[in-house]
Symmetry: C2
Subunit: 530 residues, 2 copies
Amino acid sequence: MVEKPGKTAQEMARDHREVAVSEFFEKNRHLLGYDNPTKALLTVIKELVDNSLDACEETRILPRVWIEIKPDGADRFRVMVKDNGPGMTDKQIPLALGKLLYGSKFFKLRQSRGTQGIGASGTILYSQLTTGKPTTIIASTGNGKTSYYEIMIDVKKNDPEIVSHQFIEDGKIWHGMKVEMTIEGRYVESRKSVPEYIKQVAIANPYANITFDGPNGRVEFPRTANELPPLPKEIKPHPYGVELGILRRMLKSSKSRTVASFLMNDFSRVGGGSAKEICKLADIDSKISPQRLEITDTEKLFKAMQKTKLIRPPTDCLSPLGEDLLIKGLKKEFKAEFFASVTRPPAVYRGNPFQIEVAVAYGGELPQEGSIKVLRITNRVPLLYQEGDCAITKSIITTDWRRYGLSQSGRSIPVGPAVIIVHLASVWVPYISESKQAVASYPVIIKEIKLALQGIGRNLQRHVSGKRKAEMQKKRKEIFDRYLPEVAKAVGKLTDKKPEPILNKLKGILKNYAKVSEDGRGKEKTENSG
Amino acid sequence: MVEKPGKTAQEMARDHREVAVSEFFEKNRHLLGYDNPTKALLTVIKELVDNSLDACEETRILPRVWIEIKPDGADRFRVMVKDNGPGMTDKQIPLALGKLLYGSKFFKLRQSRGTQGIGASGTILYSQLTTGKPTTIIASTGNGKTSYYEIMIDVKKNDPEIVSHQFIEDGKIWHGMKVEMTIEGRYVESRKSVPEYIKQVAIANPYANITFDGPNGRVEFPRTANELPPLPKEIKPHPYGVELGILRRMLKSSKSRTVASFLMNDFSRVGGGSAKEICKLADIDSKISPQRLEITDTEKLFKAMQKTKLIRPPTDCLSPLGEDLLIKGLKKEFKAEFFASVTRPPAVYRGNPFQIEVAVAYGGELPQEGSIKVLRITNRVPLLYQEGDCAITKSIITTDWRRYGLSQSGRSIPVGPAVIIVHLASVWVPYISESKQAVASYPVIIKEIKLALQGIGRNLQRHVSGKRKAEMQKKRKEIFDRYLPEVAKAVGKLTDKKPEPILNKLKGILKNYAKVSEDGRGKEKTENSG
C-alpha cells in the first residue's frame, strides 16, 4: 500500500498503461452529466430521447416516443424509452450501445442531436455503476425479427459485454427500439426536471408525439405539426474552416490524383477556377499528387485557401424550426397576449455553418413577477443546466432590455411577463462539456444571438409601449367618466344653462376620443399574433 | 455529397465506426483548454510544467524548471519546457507523450497534479493541429544515454507516430526532460496569462526554482524553501466511497480467496473485525470466494459497507502546503501589512480525502480600489479560467465579507485591499472539464472552503477593526494636541490660574491615554504576521 519515496524513471515507466475511455468517463461521470441523482435521471432521459428523435428523422418517420419512469426501491428508478424509429440491426446493437465513442454522427457535417457516440452508452455506464445491472434493449427493423439483448459495458476495455441475447419469435412486424434500465436517481418536477425537459422537447419538436408516464401519472404531448422538417444534408468542410493539421491528414488520405481535384472533391464551394487560384497563390503545381505535399507546401496551401475569395458554406445542412413552428410551440405551452419571432440568416464559425432563431411570448397569463423564462435550445434539444456559462445566457444578460420595455438590473436576466426561446442550429454545436448543456462563447455566435434578440426586442418594445399608452388612455377615460357630471354641472352654473345637454355633448366628445385611441391600439394588433 | 432521404437501419449501421479518443479531443479541443490562442499558450505551458513538477516530486528531486516562449512568425510561438527530473526511459517516451489517455496517475489514489494522461499528449495534438509540426523530446534518466525524438500523434488511431528517433552521444551525464514544440498562440501579460500563471506556480510551489524566458525578457523565480513537502502516499479506496458497479468489478478481479480478505486487502480502514461485521450485516459467508458473489449479494455487501462504522480514510495521501509555506508564498509576491492563514482538518467527498487551506494578505501596498484578488489552487496548480463555475469562487461570493471588514455588494467578489489564496488538496479533484480550470460544486467541498474562509475572515475582522480603532484614536489625539493650549488658557481664565501648569497636566493625561491605546493595539499585533 505504501511505496518507498524516490522512484526511478524505470520504476515509473512500469506503472504506465492505457486508460480506456469508458474508465475515464466512469471516474469523471460528472463530465457526462451524472453529477447528482436529479441531473443523472434527466441526462438518461435526454440521451435516449435524443437518439430516438435523431433515428426517426434520419429515416423520415414521424416520431412517436414513449417515456416511462417508475420508482424501483429507494433512490432507484426503472427507466424506459421506446420509439417507432428504424430500429437497429441485430449485429449493430451491442457496439452502438455498449461502447463509448462509437457512432456515425461524429464524422458527418450535418445538424443532428447526437454527435459523439457517448450519449446512449453513457446511460448504460451510469446504470451499471449505480445499480450493477444490465440494460435491456429490444429492437426490430421491421423484418419480423425482434432482437432482445441484455448489455453491460466492460469498462476496462470499452467493449460491450453481452449478458443475454435472443430473438423474440412472436411473429409481430414492427420497427423501433426500446431501451430499459435501472438507475440511481431523484425525481423532481421543478425547474430543471424531466417533466420540464419533455415539455421543452415538445415545444422544439412539435411534429413528435410524446407520452410520458412518470411517477405522478401519465402526460400526453400530442404533435401539433404533421410534417417533418426537411432532412438536413451532409456537407463537406469549407476551406475557411479547416485547420492545418486536419488539412495535412486530408491530403495524406485523399483519393484524388491532383491537388486541384483534391480541393474540388474534398471541400465544399471549391470549383475548378477557385482550385487553380488557390494553387497559384500557394505557388504549388495543381497537378501533383496531394500525398506528395511536404509540410511547408501544406502550410502555403493552407494560407492560400484562407485568402482566396469563396462562397460561404451551403446551409441546407441546417434545419431551423422556422418562425411558424417556433411560435406554434410557444402558443401551445404559454397563454400570452403577444408573440414575435426573428430568424437570422445562416452564419459561420470556424467553418461550421449555424443559424439563430429567437421567439418571444409576452403578457397575458405569464407571471408578472420574477425573471423572464429563457428556453435554450440547440439542434432541437433543450438545455437545462450550466446556464451561467452558456453563450445564449451571456447574450441575453448583455442585451439592454430596459429599452425594450422589460426591467433589468445590471447584467442580469430581465424581469417581466415574458418567455424567450433561443434556438441554435448548427452542424457542430460547440458545447463546453460532454454533457452538452451549454454553448461555448464564440464571439460570432454571441453576435448573431444578440442581433436576433434585438430584433424581437424592437417588436416587444412597440407592443409594450402601445399597451402602456392604451392603458393610460383607459385610465384617463375612467377619470373623465367619473367627473363628467360634475364638470357639466359646473359649466351649467357658469353659463347659466341646464347641465344635461352639456353632459351629453361632453360624452360625445369623449366617445370620439376613445374611438381614435382604440384605432391607434388596433394598429399594434397586427404585430400581435396572439 | 448529398444522401437520399429515408435511410434504413441497415444503411445507418454501415456508417458506424469507432471514434479514436484523439480524434474526439481534436474536434473538441476547447474541452482541453484550447478554445482560443491566448488560453492555448497558457494550457501548453501549464500541462508541461505540471508534468515536470510531478515527476520531480515523485522522485524526490528539488525541481528546477526552465520555460521558454519565443515568437516564431505571425501568431506562432516556439515553446520549450525543460526540467531536472528523473527523465524517461527511451521506450516509454512515445507512448507517454504520443497517446492520449495513457499514464499512471489515473489509477492511483494519491495527490498529484496530473491525473488523466491527456495533458502532455494534448499539447502535441494542439501543436500539430495548428502548425502541422512534430514535437521534439530530449530526455535522459542519468545513465549517460540521451534520447532524441520527434513525435506526432496518429489522430485516427490515437497512437504515437515517430518522425525521428536517435541517441545523442555526447557523453554528458544528466537527468531530466526537455519538450519543445511550435504552436499557434497569443502572448499577453494580463490577468489570465502565462506570466501570471508562473508567478502563482512560484507561490504554490516555493521549493521550485523557475526560469521564465519570455518574449519580453527573462524572469527568475528562485526557490524560497529548500525542502520538498513529504511525498503523499498512495491509498486504497475507502468502503464509503466505492460505487456499486466498481465494487462488482473489484470482486471479479480480486486475487483474495475470501470476501473477508478481499475487504481487508483491497480497501483501506477495514480490519478483520470490520470485515466480519460487514459480512454478517450483509448476510454473506465471509469465507466464500469474492468471484462467486451474485449481483444481489454484491448489493447487500455494498449496503453493509456503507452502514458499518469505519475510521475515515487515511490522509497521508494528501500533501497540503502548510500555513508557513502559504504565508511565505504570499509575502514573496505581495507587500501587505497583515497575513493570516487557516488549515482545515481533512474531509472526504465520495470517499476521496481532501483538505482545504486558505490564506489572506491585507492592506499595505495592496490596491484599495476594486475587487480583492483570488488565487485558486488545486494540488499546487493555479487555476486561471472558468472562475465563475468554480466551487472556490462560489464559496467566496456566498460568504458575507461585510462582517469581516470588506465591502461587498450582493453575491459578488468582495472589494478591498486583500488577496485570498485557496488551496484544495485531494487525491481526486473533481474538475468540471478536462481542461481542469474549475472545481465541481460538491456541497461538502463548498462547506469546507466556507469554514476556512470564515476562519480567516474573523482574523481579518479583528485586524481591520483594531486598525480602525487605532486610526480613530490617533485622530482624536491630534485634535486634542491642537486644542490643548486653548483649553488650558480657558481653564486658566475660569480658575484664575496660570495656563502653563494646566497645559502640562493636560499633556500628561493625554500621554497616559495614548499609551493605553497603543497597548491595546499592541495585542492585535500578535495577529499580524507581517
